[in-house]
Amino acid sequence: MRMTRVHSLAALLLLVVMVASACTSDDEPMETLPPSASPSLVPVADGYVYRGPGVEATLDLDGGTFRVFNSTGRALPEPGLYLLDARDGGVIDVVVEASAPVPDGQTAQFQVEASTTIEARHVGLVVLLFGEDDYGAFVPAAGDPA
């Protein structure tokens, strides 16, 4: 059975990948952009994907890789995650190592680990946070409507 991977702190370095060429000011007005404005991050087959206006994210729970693309027109606060246990709805914290704000027009990649070991088949929902804001659930890549 597949388990979420545990990573050593030493390996959990933030990797910011500069993807887009432009970076607009945080003070610029937010625009509601369609998901197609993103570079269409490709999730792993058994991973999760989040597509919303100006925000795209992928999560490979097995590999511990979490990527966020921001095209909202402003910086996004530090991303976070939590899981809901499919059996009872219990909340399972996920640590996003060295989480940091994601500038507009950029893709950031982080390493993650769940606070509790959980088998992938027992994950009910994976939920995306930016700072204090709950952005709602990812969808399994296999069922991605996009």
Partner: protein
């Protein structure tokens, strides 16, 4: 890391420990005269109304400014809204009925909420524990376990959308069948939805999850996801951040249980939950009649369907549009006023305004015929694995918006839903078997009385937005400080507000000083004698809710 889900499980912590998110914050200076005035305004709310408001508040999704008109005043324009913490919207009928499982107790005089529905259903299921975040098992709605025997084969929830306690009380002779069931089951005379604002999406989610809005996440029909405005089901079930009992129970049975919904629009789906989005879940049966791509959440189509936003997670049976058309049920509706003229009172039955009959009582037997077919063909209640079926009848809500709860059309609509009740019970007895099912019948909210009946001062959200822009939006750019004005809150562009050098306390204080005359709308002008009265009883930054000294302890 702050964790919304964890906060949801620790209600007490919500009141004191949640960090604030708005870039513009009210002064933290406890001695601030302005802040103290706003706190006083918030604490002037009756405790029960404040409690309901707290249960519906999330700092990340709720509007920045709370509005509370003085009952019977309300914020609205066009169709009558139903949004606010007052009893007339919050109080709902709640009947539990199921011979062999539910005692014939009759009325019970105690306060319960719709968060109690799901855990009470869970108590009826064998070898399944459901830990509701905010609800409790209504033990007095159930026979003692040793007297119940086998679990019921089918659990049914019926929602008469919009049929709050005061709507029924306005037409006391229009629901004899429901009244006749009171002494055969358990009838909670002080049932309420539990949180405010009590619109359709959030209360259906409360029914399904056993959680209030602050916990399950669907706090209103418009709310924030990050800084943008969103609607509850625009992304399917992804903004619902607690599982429903159906999500958990279905999975616990290995998806052997049948889970189904007969309703009208996606905002009813909080009853059932996530379908196959929930890990290990399957596509539950959902039949709606929503207009694809509609601008409003309640827009209906004329064929049963699933819209594209929910289609990935649910399934719709192929036969649903092969049943008799709605015109089959026109004749008794045509005869209601004693004339055979192709009309329901003054409304042409097959016209555009009546939405080709779907805005008339004919839709009730039309939908029940579908429910019968679903039960029979899908096999609800047919085996030893208990199933769950959720039904929303939306006519009363529709008529409340368009004609008002005081209208003769409302009486007709209640009579239609009530006349349908024994038909549904006959279907259940015939298809599932007597003594093999349990029903909870309730409503998701009440309705606002006609202002001409109550003398309410109706506050225009449009005018409030205009006044706010005029007062605070002076930098000449094209960005408004106001995102939207809703009946219970104002969503502000806090970045733009900061550019203007204004904070939330100043905005709240400004609104608190407005009169009804300044905010009078066109549809229902404020009566002349009320024009100089304050428009609101309380206005304050929502973030104060987390630190009010008067906040009730739960």
């Amino acid at each position: 890391m702050r964790h919304v889900g964890r906060v949801a499980l620790a209600a007490a912590a919500v009141l004191g420990a949640v960090a604030l998110t708005a870039p513009v914050a009210v002064s933290q200076d406890a001695g601030s005269e302005l802040e103290q005035r706003l706190i006083d305004a918030a604490c002037s709310m009756p405790p029960l109304l404040l409690e309901r408001t707290l249960r519906g508040y999330r700092p990340d999704r709720t509007g920045e400014i709370q509005l509370l008109p003085d009952e019977p005043d309300f914020v609205g324009h066009g169709g009558l809204p139903h949004s606010g913490p007052w009893d007339y919207i919050s109080r709902v009928p709640l009947l539990w009925y199921g011979p062999g499982h539910v005692p014939a107790t009759g009325p019970l005089e105690r306060r319960v909420t719709l968060a109690d529905v799901a855990p009470t259903q869970g108590e009826l299921l064998e070898d399944f524990d459901f830990d509701a975040p905010d609800g409790e098992v209504l033990h007095d709605a159930l026979l003692p376990a040793e007297q119940r025997g086998e679990p019921p084969s089918l659990l049914v929830v019926v929602v008469w959308d919009g049929a709050g306690t005061e709507v029924l009380a306005e037409h006391p002779d229009a629901w004899p069948n429901l009244a006749g069931l009171i002494d055969e089951g358990v009838w909670y005379t002080r049932a309420e939805v539990g949180s405010s604002p009590p619109s359709t999406a959030q209360i259906h989610a409360t029914i399904g999850t056993g959680a209030f809005s602050r916990t399950h996440g669907l706090v209103a029909h418009q709310f924030r996801i990050g800084e943008r405005m969103a609607t509850p089901w625009e992304a399917g079930p992804r903004y619902l951040i607690r599982p429903t009992i159906a999500d958990l129970y279905d999975r616990a049975t290995g998806n052997r249980a049948l889970i189904g919904v007969s309703a009208t629009v996606a905002i009813h789906l909080g009853m059932v939950g996530h379908g196959s989005l929930w890990g290990g879940g399957d596509k539950d049966i959902v039949v709606l009649r929503e207009r694809e791509g509609a601008a409003t959440l309640g827009a209906e189509g004329i064929r049963w369907n699933l819209t594209s936003n929910v289609r990935p997670w649910f399934r719709i049976p192929s036969y649903v549009n092969d049943l008799p058309p709605i015109a089959t049920y026109f004749d008794p509706v045509d005869r209601i006023d004693g004339r055979i003229d192709g009309r329901w009172r003054d409304l042409e039955l097959d016209g555009d305004i009546s939405h080709h009959g779907f805005r008339t009582p004919a839709r009730i037997p039309y939908q029940t015929r579908l429910v019968e077919e679903m039960i029979r063909r899908e096999g609800f209640g047919a085996d030893d694995v208990p199933d769950m079926l959720y039904i929303n009848y939306k006519l009363i809500d529709e008529i409340g918006h368009v004609n008002s709860m005081n209208s003769v059309e409302m009486r007709d609509s209640i009579e239609a839903e009530d006349a349908n009740l024994p038909v549904l019970i006959d279907v259940l007895n015939r298809e599932v078997g007597e003594g093999r099912w349990v029903m909870a019948l309730t409503a998701d909210h009440g309705h606002t009385p006609d202002p001409e009946v109550t003398g309410a001062g109706v506050i225009s959200p449009t005018h409030l937005g205009t006044l706010l822009r005029s007062e605070f939006d002076s930098d000449g750019d094209e960005i408004s400080i106001v995102d939207t004005v809703q009946p219970t809150s104002v969503f502000l562009n806090v970045r733009e507000l900061a550019d203007e050098g204004v904070d939330l306390a100043q905005v709240a204080d400004f609104i608190l000083g407005l009169t009804k005359g300044q905010l009078s709308g066109e549809t229902w002008p404020v009566p002349e004698e009320q024009r100089d009265e304050p428009a609101f009883l309380a206005v304050f930054p929502s973030e104060l809710l987390d630190r009010l000294p008067c906040a009730p302890n739960e």
